[in-house]
Symmetry: D2
Subunit: 335 residues, 4 copies
């Protein structure tokens, strides 16, 4: 739904096909009346031949384990594929199988060609990819906060702790008792505690790639009583106790110099999650506690835009050689 909203406003994109299963045959607006007057498409049954004949680029937004059954055929038929599930995010498919309970012998060769869709880290590879696996909200917020520290070897790698806070829309539209307003509002709770959340191995894969060796992180997601937005508070021990805040600011600004969607805030300024809401931006605030020799990095994104649909459109822009900011919202919905 967020993808449709963004693509509808993209000047170089035309949506020519919307696929669905249980909703096939219905007009899109019957599911989302709030977009109904602007989007007049029907939802069609999934037919890969028809899709390939009509579409140059296909976005897959499916439950985990389905994209890997469709992507190979779509690629073979000549489409570019951007997948929003976990299916093409893992370089080691055993890790995928362990966390997602799905055998992956069938598409090993295709999976090897997939590029990890975080443009700030893998921009060049995305530019020449035909298959991109886009990371989700928790992972994006975590990695954008941690990457400069790891890449520059500034921290004790296994000291990294990510305490992440997410709005409830990250949980999707499936009806579950614990996600009811009456249960989840006016409350905060942690889950997936102790490395048991499936985003832990995904974060570790990219961190290890950046560091050049195996890295373990502590990742704890929290459910917030709000709809949108994610804020990650990241702690890491500095290798060199002499580093101060200004050093890190310089390093972060350089690291993200060519990344229009990441905004490193001035020293002493830290983001509230709402600043990013409605945009594809990531705001980053940085502090060094010289008493404890720790870096504390706060990052925030809109979980449904930079953490999901916006990221995919940003990847599309790069794959097509367009401006990375094309068609994506920049001005916060605030307040």
């Amino acid at each position: 739904m967020q993808l449709v909203r963004l693509l509808q406003d993209h000047p170089l994109v035309e949506i020519v096909y919307l696929g669905g299963e249980s909703s096939a045959g219905k007009p899109f607006c019957s599911l989302y009346p709030h977009l109904g007057h602007q989007v007049e498409l029907m939802i069609e049954p999934i037919d890969l031949d028809k899709i390939a004949s009509r579409c140059e680029v296909v976005f897959l937004s499916l439950p985990n384990g389905l994209a890997c059954e469709m992507a190979p055929q779509l690629l073979e038929k000549g489409c570019y594929v951007l997948d929003l599930s976990a299916d093409y995010r893992f370089t080691n498919l055993n890790t995928y199988t362990k966390w997602y309970n799905k055998e992956r012998s069938a598409d090993l060769d295709v999976a090897r060609t997939a590029v990890y869709g975080l443009p700030e880290l893998y921009r060049d590879a995305i530019a020449s990819a035909r298959l991109v696996g886009c990371p989700g909200c928790y992972v994006t917020a975590s990695l954008l906060a941690l990457s400069p520290l790891l890449k520059q070897g500034l921290i004790v790698p296994d000291s990294a702790i990510i305490d992440a806070k997410s709005g409830a829309s990250g949980g999707g539209r499936q009806a579950k008792t614990n996600m009811l307003l009456a249960e989840a509002d006016a409350s905060v709770s942690a889950y997936g505690i102790g490395g048991h959340h499936r985003h832990t191995p995904e974060i570790e894969q990219v961190c290890s790639d950046l560091a050049g060796h195996d890295v373990k992180v502590q990742f704890t997601p929290h459910l917030m009583p709000m709809v949108r937005g994610i804020l990650a508070t990241v702690y890491a021990n500095l290798r060199d106790p002499g580093l101060v805040r200004e050093d890190l600011l310089t390093i972060y600004k350089a690291f993200y110099r060519n990344s229009p969607w990441v905004k490193v805030l001035p020293g002493g300024t830290f983001p509230q999650s709402k600043w990013a809401c409605g945009t594809n931006l990531c705001y980053i605030g940085i502090e060094v506690d010289q008493r404890t020799d720790r870096a504390i990095v706060i990052s925030t994104i809109d979980n449904l835009i930079k953490g999901q649909a916006g990221q995919a459109v940003q990847c599309l822009n790069i794959m097509k050689g367009w401006s990375e900011t094309l068609g994506l919202p920049q001005l916060s919905f605030y307040p």
Copy 2:
């Protein structure tokens, strides 16, 4: 769950039986960990003989249409019954059948003995009842606001409009997409518009009883982005254009003189819903618009206490001849 919480703190009540179907065999605390350390009861399968042998009073908190199958037997076995569903709220069972899709030929005689469990209106009848059908949150807030006007014949009866705003906990714990935090938070909406909500006939039944003739009301419920509380804004045209606010204040204070749970606020003061949260209180604020000859009455209750479990305990107190305030919370949870 709210009943357990209140009865646990009631000085003259002991909970000796908790019945359930899908949850039978589990400890109560496995469903409600937040009460778990204080409530050590097991949930047992429903066995009317066992219930009757152990309990003097039985509270039924079941989906509509089930209480009417159990209450007759429990009464016959000597229990007092307080029902929190709609089954024993209607004097005309055809109305019940029309709105609740359930034939009621089997318990006609029993239903005739049921008393409507709104103590502020039917205190004496409750005192001598063996079967009480307790009204819910919308109806309680609406009737406490309207009753003095109707009883005294002060308004054009069919002019009454009730615009009610409720927290999401009124919808129960069943998982529905539209009640998810991500869907219902940060938003307000009306439903059951145009007399299509099943509380309309229930409100009208009591209003007609008070007025001495048939009364039609306009009742529009709204879903608020909050967990608890209900606020009813009630509009009605005054018969006598000479009436001013102070007249109504006098009438309301007299009407509720012996009702410890209703607080008529001083002129110019109006309640916010949170004032009642955590208590069995109903706050009422009153205004007269002399330009339009309309009375505007604002009432508020905690939908899960005075609008549900607390009301049932208040009825119990009356049935047993105890003080009406016994064991019920008086001090707001605010803020």
Copy 3:
């Protein structure tokens, strides 16, 4: 702030001047960091000559009572003026003086030339106006719901009751205890009860203009525990008891045929306030209760867009002869 956000995205507008008093000399981004990376303007002291020399159109967003001191000079210097305060919304300045405590002898002639900036009702007059007084959120939501009924003479005029529910951002950024999150969250309350809210005379002025005679309405605003959005539930007695929902739907659709920002929903569909959030749209749902011969109309807008800044930009588009939808957001921010 909302105006800057919208104008920044408008393809035919360039912001060349931002005026302020206490904030003069600061960069705009120091006040609103969430817009800071996109908006690089400085806030300048208010100098009418400088404004007039640089700007073709001036938006005034000031406390009530200040615009009427600046607008006459700006008009004389050749600017178009769109005012977002109450100063130019009243045809009878005695009414203004009574409710806003401000004498208005100085600019009587100018005030007479002002057009009421609700495009759906006064589109033609706005097209040729040089001074427009744009209505706010409560009035816009109320009038868009009521106007077709009044204009066609379908209702008993004085029977109209508007029960309006607004997010807290309508109260502005001034720090008041009752608007703190800890006080206002998880609660709902009414205010300005009994015709005491200053939007009552403004609504009545336009209603009277539409009906062709004096009309009194009952308007009760409510504060919701949410940031954005407004929902008005409007009740009115139908003159002709034979009218059904489909009649009203036909009438509303005809009335708003040329109004791209008003969406009349199909029968049986009613909006939640969040559908309009982030857009300049007004959604309207309609019902007739044939038991009570009442029309019930539910309208919803984003209080900060169609209820404020977006409305002003819509008026600008009309004044300049541009498309009425130019530069304004159409796709909801939902969820």
Copy 4:
């Protein structure tokens, strides 16, 4: 206000004096209408002689820096004093002066007799104290989570990181723009980042006392879009990599064996903040991540009860030799 609410329900307490400055002369209910019908006291000007003549025990709930001017006199006049400010929480008054900008030469001798009012750690000292400085919400949640680990020497002391999430009521009733519902709702943000929050030295003082040597902690408070409740997520590196979750559960249960207000949850269960709301309870959930050799402890309390007024009443109970649970709420307000 919370103190009045709790003391009003306490069976062995009578409130005989309520002092205030700007509110002196007003009835308590004029400030808090939601308690008005139950509390009929007037607020009186502060007169230490009058207080001492009437009261056996005095609770001071004042801005930091005022209690230290009154407590010495009240003690001299024979009162017991429970202070809710920071004035009597520090063993090293230089630390107090540094963080609270207040010289403390005048009451050095009195300060030396003050006991830190966290009953779970200093129960015996509280029992014989005449002056108790009660800790606030952040510190209480943090220390109850960390203390068993530190006391038993199980963790690398300086590895402790406390990521705390608090409802907005912790900020008090003072009107500030950033605490408005329109600003703070639907958002989360960190503050006092990098050891700059004044609760850091207070937490470190107690941790050092428990560990027997200087301990530094990383404490980061976050503002949640909710009214009440606090949740602390605490991370610490285990000294002995062989420890598993069950070991820690055993240690925590033993540590809190005699603490009726701390509930250690079964393995795999973690609290949501709402479970504690309305009670004086602290819930603790524990995990060990064997991949990283880290303990992760989640604690939650109601910031206004166990984190403020309830804690003071708990201390009172101990000072008077009453049951520690007397008059304090045990059953959650949930949902």
